[in-house]
Symmetry: C2
Subunit: 388 residues, 2 copies
């Protein structure tokens, strides 16, 4: 088998929770880690310098195969030397496979054994994505971690629907791995002559059916990947269902490989998933909600539009040391938001990412020092005690 | 007369061009200076940290009385301790009087001897701005430099129209000064107990009629201000007309006071106005055009939408050392712009402001070393030699 250029080491445990490091040629990523989402080659509303600053120190960000494939297109990114060079980011990246985005198109897509046919959300043109195409695209993008091409089932999927989807995902996982290895070994022509530098993660599906989830996990591990992800959560199912799946599946995932929970979630979700053994997360909440005027704070969510903040001289989060909280008041950010000023989105995005990344840093420290149970209890209590 | 808390010193001259320093209690502002426009309490698309960074090092920014008065409203800013505290900016500021914005409303406003009645562009409510109201508002805002409340005449105004407008502006200038001095001396109740800390500039009007401009200047100087501005340019007149007015008026303005050309202009306009004796500038071009996809460069304007930049690996300006030009390619910024990503505006705004501010820095160095004529010739030649 192809030997991946990443290494994963566990440095400490407390119950199911683990802390460690994912070592890539573009730096060490301490886990558990939150990955900001950089859909179209940019984490919306924030400069790369800020992502690298001590406030955030994001060690890895996401890129979206679907979006980048459609625009600017893979030929542009190839000509510009791959995604890192194109966007000017030297740290690690992970690219999703496009499977979830295409699935999200709903009526606009048609899924067959071969792959998924869909219409571009940009110009309506007919496109086709398959495991092989996704692997080619992800090889051009050149992220440190690529994802297998999967199909998602809705949260309320019946057992039959979920099984059908899971079986398809397993066949696509095998095809993904075959295509990926050929590309990495240079058996297929390499877009940038940079083979052997990427890792591939497999994705566990099965909706809310635990037996299907377990089977999906077992058979995905049989195919063999460099890390494993739980997909198909936070897609409409109830929160307790999501947590049951995580609680059942995460501890069964290979202990020596990173475990990645895709598309989740709130700060509380992250802590709860860490407690169940998850190492990696990505979510649009800090950036998207920031643009919509919502701040995540240590004392819960803050809606900056709220009239109570009109003269509020406090920072977004009194416990936060980020550059936004050190400098600006809720009253000012509310004014910016109500005035439609871009700076509102910029400041809320920065703070929210700082809060998510700092929370994960504190989680890592807590696990290392055997204080995670205490941290989890106090963090959760404070979240519910109301805004200052 | 009230003694202003600013000082202005000339350190070097070359022809009509001068370099010096405007000394305020919030720092030294080297002149000639370009002031980024912070209409609603934010220079659109850029964080204050970036304005303070060595790339830009903006020593003074503008605030708009009209916009801030309507939203968030003066009571909010008063309760938050003035504009500096409200927005979190410790360096110097200048506030315009609202005269120009209200005049720009066109059919929505009615001008009388007493002041200007208009409908808010935000909620349509009826508002009234006069010299006295403007001075009160500007005292609450608390910028280091306030501007007299004036009326503008259109670029193509007839002599009669221009005279009527100029006479009104002169009466308003006297009323502005009287109200301002009472506020600063504490004769009128002070909103923040911070009197005696602001300077007031008068504004020369007269459209394109040089004799009226000269008369306006003479009578404005008679009233007596801490600095003098040329208003009512770049409002539809031809560029050669604008330059004729500047060339005739700037050298006649008091040599020991700062000369401020309002709302102008392109990098070339700035250099040409400096050559005619102007010390201070403000303009929305670098920020507004940045948001619209236009970069100002040492080799002229660059339209990032242009297909020629699709694979262009060069920075926006090959001669620029700003953080955007050090890191990102035209191809990437074009992709961001076409994708509607906020980061396009953020990066273009940063570069454009860096270019304007760096140009002024080079202008100051050139005057100090007696090389301004050479600099002006080379800068202008390069502007027209086409993009790399």
């Amino acid at each position: 088998m192809y030997e991946p250029p990443i290494d994963f080491q566990i440095a400490g445990r407390e119950g199911e929770a683990r802390t460690g490091a994912l070592i890539t040629r573009r730096g060490v990523i301490e886990t558990p880690v939150f990955m900001p989402v950089g859909t179209a080659g940019t984490v919306k509303g924030i400069r790369f310098e800020e992502l690298e600053s001590p406030d955030l120190d994001a060690r890895i960000i996401l890129g979206n195969t679907y979006h980048l494939w459609l625009r600017p297109g893979i030929e542009t990114i190839r000509a510009c030397g791959g995604l890192h060079k194109f966007i000017g980011w030297d740290r690690a990246m992970l690219t999703d496979s496009g499977g979830f985005q295409v699935w999200s198109l709903g009526a606009l897509r048609k899924i067959t054994e071969e792959g998924t046919e869909f219409r571009s959300h940009i110009d309506g043109s007919l496109c086709f994505l398959s495991p092989e195409v996704s692997m080619e695209v992800q090889t051009v993008l050149g992220a440190e971690i690529a994802m297998a091409f999967d199909e998602c089932a809705p949260g309320e999927a019946t057992r039959d629907e979920a099984r059908r989807s899971m079986e398809l995902t397993l066949r696509w996982a095998k095809r993904s791995k075959d295509a990926f290895e050929k590309l990495q070994r240079g058996v297929l022509p390499l877009p940038l002559g940079e083979g052997g530098k990427q890792a591939l993660f497999g994705i566990v599906q099965g909706a809310s059916h635990l037996d299907l989830r377990r089977e999906s996990l077992e058979r995905t591990v049989e195919i063999g990947f460099d890390g494993y992800a739980i997909g198909g959560l936070s897609v409409g199912e109830e929160k307790h269902v999501m947590m049951e799946v995580i609680e059942d599946i995460a501890p069964r995932m290979p202990a020596d490989k990173p475990r990645y929970l895709m598309g989740v979630g709130t700060p509380e979700d992250l802590i709860e998933a860490v407690a169940r053994g998850v190492d990696m997360f990505d979510c649009v909440l800090p950036t998207r909600n920031g643009r919509n005027g919502q701040a995540f704070t240590s004392r819960g969510k803050l809606n900056i539009k709220n009239a109570r903040h009109a003269l509020d001289q406090k920072p977004l989060d009194e416990s936060c040391q980020c550059s936004v909280c050190r400098r600006h008041t809720r009253a000012f950010i509310r004014h910016l938001y109500l005035s439609g000023e871009m700076l509102a989105s910029i400041l809320l995005t920065h703070h929210n990412l700082a809060f998510f990344l700092d929370t994960m840093k504190r989680v890592r420290q807590a696990i290392r020092s055997g204080q995670f149970a205490k941290f989890r209890r106090e963090f959760t209590e404070q979240l519910h005690c109301g805004l200052g």
